[in-house]
């Protein structure tokens, strides 16, 4: 009996494709963001309201993933920017190969922002690197403020937490301070924004965050990240 050491990532094939995508995005000056939440947290509405605030000359495109239907792509296509639906047909997350295929017909030279709306799921998408510059987790106030503790993997990997649907706060028992505290217990460096895409409150802060990531000042520009893990060497 031989024991052969392997020491490679289980998802090394996905990671290989993601690394190639990340290199392409970097070469074309594209900021790619991967939005992740449970189903119904408001990712599509947030994207609609974001696109509605963009000028016609913005070089932005959207990939949206769902298990079935192209409903989200239709909602997002109304704003006149390139949108493509990825229907996973059962898979609970997007993987790098799906993104690679979906991008095949777009000229990356025409873009400088790619927003990926992942399949609604707080578990699986956390494991799959899509070549994004950052993962963003969206948590609506209609959910539990302890979700960061229940699903730590995604809060650990996300750079930004968006607390959405804040217009519902008067009607739900969600504790904003507890949600922030819980997310920081999992990931002390996570940034947190509060907004309501419906009322528009907080949308400016989100657009400012996007703008700062798209055009970082030289001092604030983060070094290109080679992997999506947080592990120190």
């Amino acid at each position: 009996m031989d024991r052969v050491p392997l020491e490679k990532k289980v998802l090394s094939e996905n990671d290989r494709i993601a690394a190639a995508l990340r290199a392409r995005f970097h070469a074309h000056g594209i900021l790619c963001l991967n939005l992740i939440s449970s189903p119904g947290a408001g990712k599509t509405t947030l994207l609609e309201q974001t696109l509605a605030r963009f000028g016609r000359d913005e070089r932005v495109a959207i990939l949206t993933g769902d298990v079935q239907t192209d409903n989200d792509a239709r909602r997002l296509a109304r704003f006149g920017f390139p949108v493509r639906q990825i229907t996973t047909g059962g898979a609970c997350h997007l993987d790098a190969r799906m993104v690679e295929r979906a991008l095949a017909e777009w000229r990356l030279d025409d873009l400088d922002l790619l927003l990926i709306e992942n399949v609604g799921n707080l578990v699986c998408p956390a494991s799959y690197d899509l070549g994004e510059a950052a993962k963003i987790v969206v948590l609506s106030v209609a959910e539990g403020d302890d979700k960061p503790l229940k699903y730590p993997a995604i809060f650990f990997r996300a750079e930004l937490l968006i607390l959405s649907k804040t217009d519902l706060l008067p009607h739900v028992p969600f504790d904003m301070a507890a949600a922030r505290d819980n997310s920081r217990r999992v990931h002390p460096e996570i940034e947190v924004l509060e907004l309501s895409a419906t009322s528009g409150a907080g949308m400016e802060t989100w657009l400012d965050w996007l703008e700062a990531r798209r055009h970082p000042t030289p001092a604030a520009a983060p070094a290109p990240v080679a992997t999506s893990t947080k592990s120190a060497p």
Partner: protein, 169 residues
């Protein structure tokens, strides 16, 4: 892992099980990697695969074992076994350098009480090893038919006594 995270060839798992079980697609990735390794060693039999799963990886070890067994059952890889090593979250204190295990999300350094630290383990999802039974060496061609037959006879005679001594699990 082309396209779909999980493709089930045999057994009773349905697409519904697929979409609700993250670990099934992870198990499938492990099997694909194991198959690729086996393909480089013609005739070898895969016995066991070892993986490392961090508590922040988002992968539940019990569900991964369940999915792995379900995928292996009835497949060409049966009875391939899976060994999972779970890795707790560990942080290195940025002030005093102490490495400590994080329990219940408590990020306070037990030595100096600082809250600034870096995560150094806990998000692993790695293949660690493969246990392989190499192919039986065929009789050398120059041995001749008669010698080969004698060798085969010896093997047959010794065979039953060596059963059960193999691979203590």
């Amino acid at each position: 892992m082309p396209g779909f995270g999980c493709r089930v060839k045999k057994g009773s798992l349905t697409p519904d099980t697929c979409s609700s079980m993250h670990e099934l697609s992870i198990a499938n990735s492990i099997l694909e990697a194991a198959r690729a390794e086996a393909a480089r060693r013609p005739g070898a039999r895969l016995v066991k695969v070892g993986v490392r799963v961090g508590e922040l990886s988002g992968v539940e070890p019990d569900a991964l074992s369940f999915s792995f067994e379900a995928l292996v059952r009835g497949s060409d890889l049966e009875p391939l076994a899976l060994e999972i090593e779970t890795c707790p979250r560990r942080q290195r204190c940025s002030l005093c350098g102490r490495i400590f295990r994080v329990v219940d999300f408590d990020l306070c350094c037990p030595d100096c009480g600082a809250f600034e630290s870096r995560c150094i383990s806990g998000d692993e999802l790695e293949m660690v090893y493969l246990e392989i039974e190499e192919a039986q060496v065929a009789p050398a061609p120059e041995m001749g038919l008669r010698a080969a037959a004698r060798a085969g006879e010896r093997e047959w005679k010794n065979g039953p006594s060596s059963l059960g001594k193999e691979s203590p699990q």
